[in-house]
Each structure stands twice: as structure tokens, then as C-alpha cells.
């Protein structure tokens, strides 16, 4: 079991009376790439936000890299430093330049010396191909560039797991590709990834497994080829017929 970097057992989560997650069991092995899809409101975002405790689960057990997520703030901060996240709305810090966005957490959380942090940040910015934007502020960049900067910022913490919460949903169509390309490169480099997305082309290319969620439950989990070739569940079939 120790090779599972993410281990969720019977995780449930309520928003008021609404149950967003119902008894979710999920194991993710190291270097596995998983795409989560499903209709809106099905709990995909909540699921991955529970993994770095941006949302608190109320029942069940989540263990990340051997550390259990509990009320313990120390554990939470340690896990968050190991789990990177990319958001739908980029969420770059608008008051800092792209470079400062990338070095802020390494300097203040991981206590890396400034020069070294900048060196690392430039390397990550280069890997997403926006080194020339390093001195600019987020507001001066296009959506695609901002999302790649957000990816670089998360990578600067050298995370073991990357979570993507609909990273391309807020982008213009012509910018989606540049972000997906950066994500594909990352996948090829061997990162453990959980991606909530509707980009089925990306899923086919990178994902080892696909999870289909509906109404707070994991309806189907299958490896990529099987998922598209012969989905078992009726709801999965319906969903696929609508988006493909």
C-alpha cells in the first residue's frame, strides 16, 4: 500500500444539507496520471480541493504521502507544500511580478535563499516558455500566459503531486493548446497528476486512468482505452455521447 501516494477511504463532505462527496474511495499510485470528468456539480472540484484541504472532509480518511490530513495545521501546511495546485481562474498574485509570484512561496515557506529561488523560478518559467515575461505583472499577460505562469509557480515548490482544477475552462480556445502542451510536458516528466478537465483529447493522450463522477460519487474508473471504447455505466455512456 505504501506506493499509493494518495489514499482516500470513505470520504464524505457536506455543504450544509447538500452532500458533495459520498463515500469516496480513491487510491493514486506514484507517477499516475488521472483525469476526473463528469457533469458540473458532480463534486470533481470538491474532490481535488479535499486532497490539499482547501475543503475540509467531514468523514473518512485522507492520507497523502504517508501523512494523514487532520485538524493539525502543521500537517496541512506540510502537505500543501508538497501538493501543487492550478486553478481555473489562475489566481496569480496581481501585486507581484511573475518572477516574484514564483519565488514568494519558496523563499518564505521553504526558506530557500532568494538568488537560488530566482534561479529555480527562471528554470520553471523556461519550461513553460514564458521566461521573457518574468518581469511583467499578471495583468499584463494573456490568459494562456497567466495560466502557464500559475503552473510554473506551483512547480517552484517542487511538489510531488499536481492538482489541476479545470485549468483551461477560463481560456480562449486558441490559448488552450499552449497550456495543455505545458501539462503534457509535465506528465512526460513523470509527475503524479490529478486533472479535472473536459479536454478529452488531453485525457486520451496523457491519462493512465479516467474517473467519471456524478452526484458526488465515483461512477466509473477505468483505464483510458477501456473508458472510451466500452464504458460500462449508462450515465458514463450518456455523458460521453454528449461531449464527444
Amino acid at each position: 500500500m505504501s506506493e499509493n501516494i494518495i489514499q482516500m477511504e470513505k470520504v464524505s463532505k457536506w455543504f450544509g444539507d447538500f452532500q458533495a462527496l459520498k463515500d469516496i474511495d480513491l487510491e493514486v499510485a506514484q507517477k499516475q496520471k488521472i483525469v476526473v470528468c463528469g457533469p458540473s456539480g458532480s463534486g470533481k472540484s470538491t474532490l481535488i480541493r479535499c486532497i490539499n484541504r482547501l475543503e475540509e472532509h467531514q468523514q473518512g480518511k485522507i492520507v497523502i504521502d504517508g501523512i494523514e490530513l487532520t485538524e493539525n495545521t502543521k500537517n496541512i501546511e506540510q502537505i500543501r507544500a508538497e501538493v501543487g495546485m492550478v486553478f481555473q481562474q489562475f489566481n496569480l498574485f496581481p501585486h507581484l511580478s511573475i518572477l516574484d509570484n514564483c519565488t514568494l512561496a519558496p523563499i518564505w515557506v521553504k526558506k530557500i535563499p532568494k538568488l537560488k529561488a530566482e534561479e529555480l523560478a527562471l528554470k520553471q518559467l523556461e519550461s513553460v516558455k514564458i521566461t521573457d515575461q518574468a518581469k511583467k505583472f499578471p495583468g499584463q499577460l494573456s490568459g494562456g500566459q497567466q495560466q502557464r505562469a500559475a503552473l510554473a509557480r506551483a512547480l517552484c515548490m517542487e511538489p510531488k503531486i499536481m492538482l489541476f482544477d479545470e485549468p483551461t475552462s477560463a481560456l480562449d480556445p486558441e490559448m488552450i493548446k499552449e497550456v495543455l502542451d505545458a501539462m503534457v510536458d509535465l506528465a512526460k516528466a513523470g509527475m503524479t497528476m490529478i486533472v479535472v478537465t473536459h479536454e478529452m483529447g488531453f485525457a486520451k493522450e496523457v491519462a493512465d486512468e479516467i474517473i467519471f463522477m456524478d452526484e458526488g460519487m465515483i461512477v466509473e474508473r477505468a483505464n483510458t482505452e477501456d473508458f472510451f471504447a466500452n464504458p460500462k455505466n449508462e450515465r458514463t455512456k450518456l455523458f460521453l455521447s454528449q461531449i464527444l
Binding site: 482547501l54 489566481n91 498574485f93 501585486h95 515557506v109 505583472f137
Partner: protein, 421 residues
């Protein structure tokens, strides 16, 4: 009616050379009429019936502006004026009324302030009745600036303020690397140096009681200390009010609502009269300290709400992003949230600071005499009775200069920290 006015035809571009001179003539006639009437008591239109001649300037001006109202006249200046102050009959009447009010009031005001005013002399007798008596301000000037501070020791106040100004100016010119040390020095060390220099009692300096402090320098001292102190307190209160821990939250809400709910005057009375009764025997706290603390806490409550407004304006994504990078509560707020929130509320912060500076004269009620207090004292001096107006005008001008500069400074900060979202 319109037909009668238009006996020469409608004002139009074709008849530019006819209507513009007529318009200018009538308009000037109206201005001359009102000027002569109000300033020299000459009525050039007295041959008109009584009720009518009162309105003649307005009628002349109105007709003049009507004839001048030529659309697309081709003359750039005239077009601009027409669009801005003469676009229809209602606007033209407003324009005229404003001009008339200015003509009636500005010359007498200038007369009183400067032309008929008295500058030379040393006693009340040197003043004529017709203008302001600035001799009063001149003679009392040292008192208005320094209160009852001993004359021989004035250099101490001067030095400390010159040092303060020098350091603040230096802030703009020194390299960024040293800047943060200078700011820390200015906020945490310099106030004590300044205070010690003015208060004395050690290093061979004569001790000067705080009750002798006064005038504009006291205004500054109270403002500077209260400003520096109320800002961090307000920040913590704002964070406290949004905290998820019930004790912190309700304590902050209670504090803020208490101080916002009571008038400053009562707070000052409490600080100077009631508070000492609660102190144990033998413990004494200077009245000036008590007042500074009272003003600080009072303004901190307002500051807290201003800053909370900025905190609430930030999208939740900023919190999510900072958390997902492993930042805890303090790092998240100090590095990500507060820098953005404070930037958003610079106008509100400036507002609170200006209100604080203008609230300082209220300390008059507990017997501390800053600028307005000293003027109150001076105007009741038997040798100088009857110069309250000069005093208050002078105080008004000084306060305006101070507040205007603070406001300009806040605008500069806003401009400097403007980044696109």
C-alpha cells in the same frame, strides 16, 4: 417671446460677425452693471422701473449668452465655452449666477484678507477696523506654533521636526535596500528620540511638562503618534473581526463597535477625568499620553473597518492560491492578502488619517491647547479681544494646507501602487 429676441434672425454661423459682438456687448454690460452695483453702489440702470432694474444684469447677461449660443460656430474657443457653460438656457442662468456671486464676494474678501489688512505694528492699536489684523497672528505666532513651551528650549522642537522632515524626504531618495531599515527606524525608534528630545529630563535637557506643550507642534505630535499607532492596531482588529476563532472575533467586534459608538469628546473626557480614578494609588499617567491613547484607539476602530472593506474585496481565489502554496495564516495575510487589501483602501485610509488630524482640536475640552486651543486662549487675552475671525481663518488655512498635502500624498501612493488586476 423667442420671436422678439430673434428680431435679427436666429443666432447662426452665417451671422457670426453680427451676433458675436452683440452677445459679447450685452454680456459685458451685465457684468459691468453688477460690478458697479455691488462694489461702487452705482446703478446705471436706475431709469428702469424698480422691480425690473434689480434684474437687469441677469437679463443683459442672459440675452448676451443667448446670442452667443451659436452651434458649430467655427470658433474653437467659443464652441468649447458653449458646450461647457452655455449649452442651454438653464446652464446659462447658472453660469451667470455663479459669476455674479464671485464678483460680489471675491473683491471684499481680498480686501479684508490682504489689501485693507494690517501687517505692520505690534499692538492692537495699530490695527484699523476695515481689514484683517494679521498683527494679532504675528505677535502670537510663536505661541500658536509652540504653545507655552519655554522660549529658550524652542530649538528642541524645531530640531526634532526638522529631523523628521529630513528623514521623510530622505525616504524618497535613498536606495531601496536601505529603505526598509529607515522605515523601521522611523516607526519604531524615531518617535522615542523625538519624544525624549521634546520632553527632556535626561541627557542634560531641561524637563518640560506636557501641559506646556501646545500649538501646532502639539497637533503634529498627537497626529504623528496616533497615526503610527492606530494603523497596526486597526489592521489586527480587521483581521480579528474576520477570524474564525469566536473569542478573537467577538472581542474585535466588541472593541470596534464600542469605540465607533461613542463620541470622541466623551472618550477624551473619560481619558482625562475618569481613567485616573481607576489607576492604583501612586500610579500616574500623563494626561497627554492618555489623550494620545484615547485618540489612537478611537481611530483604530475606524481604521479596522476601512481595512476590513479591503479584505472583503479580495476574491477567494487569492486565499486558495496562497494556501495551496503552503502558506500559513500569517504568511498568507502579510505576503498576499494585506498588500493587496491595503492598496485597495488607500483612499479610505487617507480619509481616516485626515479625520484624525482634524479631530485633534477637540483635546481643547480636556485642557490641552493645540493650534485651535491656543487661538481660543489668545482671543480671550484682554489686550487682544475681538480677533477671533483672524485666528480661525489662520487655523483653517493651516489645517487646509496640512490636509491637502496629505491628500495629495495619498493620491501619489495610489498612482504608485496601481497594478492591473
Amino acid at each position: 417671446m423667442i420671436k422678439i429676441i430673434n428680431f435679427l434672425g436666429t443666432p447662426s454661423r452665417e451671422k457670426f460677425s453680427l451676433f458675436v459682438p452683440i452677445g459679447i456687448f450685452l454680456f459685458s454690460l451685465g457684468l459691468i452693471d453688477v460690478t458697479l452695483n455691488s462694489l461702487f453702489d452705482v446703478n446705471i440702470t436706475s431709469f428702469f422701473p424698480r422691480g425690473l432694474n434689480y434684474f437687469t444684469p441677469l437679463i443683459f447677461g442672459f440675452l448676451g449668452l443667448y446670442y452667443l449660443r451659436i452651434e458649430f460656430s467655427g470658433n474653437k474657443m467659443l464652441d468649447k465655452l458653449n458646450i461647457n457653460i452655455n449649452s442651454n438656457w438653464f446652464n446659462s442662468i447658472l453660469t451667470l449666477l455663479i459669476i455674479f456671486v464671485l464678483i460680489q464676494n471675491i473683491p471684499p474678501l481680498l480686501n479684508w484678507l490682504i489689501i485693507d489688512a494690517n501687517f505692520v505694528g505690534t499692538t492692537k492699536k495699530d490695527c484699523s477696523d476695515s481689514g484683517a489684523c494679521w498683527i494679532f497672528i504675528k505677535i502670537w505666532f510663536p505661541r500658536l506654533m509652540y504653545g507655552l513651551y519655554p522660549n529658550a528650549e524652542l530649538w528642541r522642537i524645531n530640531t526634532s521636526f526638522i529631523m523628521l522632515i529630513t528623514l521623510v524626504v530622505a525616504l524618497f531618495y535613498i536606495p531601496i535596500k536601505l529603505k526598509k531599515y529607515l522605515i523601521i527606524f522611523l516607526i519604531f525608534v524615531f518617535p522615542f528620540i523625538m519624544f525624549n528630545l521634546i520632553h527632556g529630563g535626561n541627557f542634560g535637557l531641561v524637563w518640560v511638562e506636557t501641559t506646556a506643550w501646545g500649538g501646532l507642534s502639539l497637533t503634529f505630535i498627537i497626529s504623528v503618534f496616533a497615526l503610527i499607532l492606530c494603523f497596526p492596531i486597526g489592521m489586527f482588529l480587521a483581521l480579528g473581526r474576520r477570524s474564525s476563532a469566536p473569542v478573537t472575533r467577538y472581542a474585535s467586534i466588541g472593541f470596534i463597535e464600542f469605540w465607533r459608538g461613542v463620541p470622541l469628546i466623551t472618550v477624551l473626557f473619560m481619558a482625562s477625568v475618569m481613567f485616573p480614578m481607576f489607576l492604583p494609588d501612586g500610579v500616574y499617567m500623563d494626561k497627554l499620553f492618555r489623550v494620545i491613547i484615547a485618540i489612537t484607539l478611537f481611530e483604530a476602530a475606524y481604521m479596522a473597518e476601512v481595512i476590513r472593506g479591503g479584505l472583503q474585496a479580495l476574491p477567494r481565489g487569492q486565499y486558495d492560491a496562497a494556501k495551496s502554496l503552503g502558506m500559513g495564516y500569517w504568511r498568507l495575510h502579510l505576503l498576499v492578502i494585506l498588500p493587496q487589501a491595503l492598496k485597495l483602501v488607500i483612499p479610505g485610509i487617507a480619509n481616516t488619517f485626515l479625520a484624525l488630524v482634524k479631530d485633534t482640536p477637540l483635546i481643547l475640552v480636556v485642557g490641552l491647547l493645540e493650534l485651535v486651543g491656543m487661538i481660543d486662549m489668545a482671543k480671550t487675552n484682554p489686550d487682544w479681544l475681538g480677533f477671533a475671525t483672524e485666528g480661525y481663518v489662520f487655523a483653517g488655512i493651516l489645517f487646509w494646507i496640512i490636509c491637502f498635502n496629505m491628500s495629495r500624498y495619498s493620491q501619489r501612493l495610489e498612482e504608485k501602487y496601481k497594478t492591473d488586476r
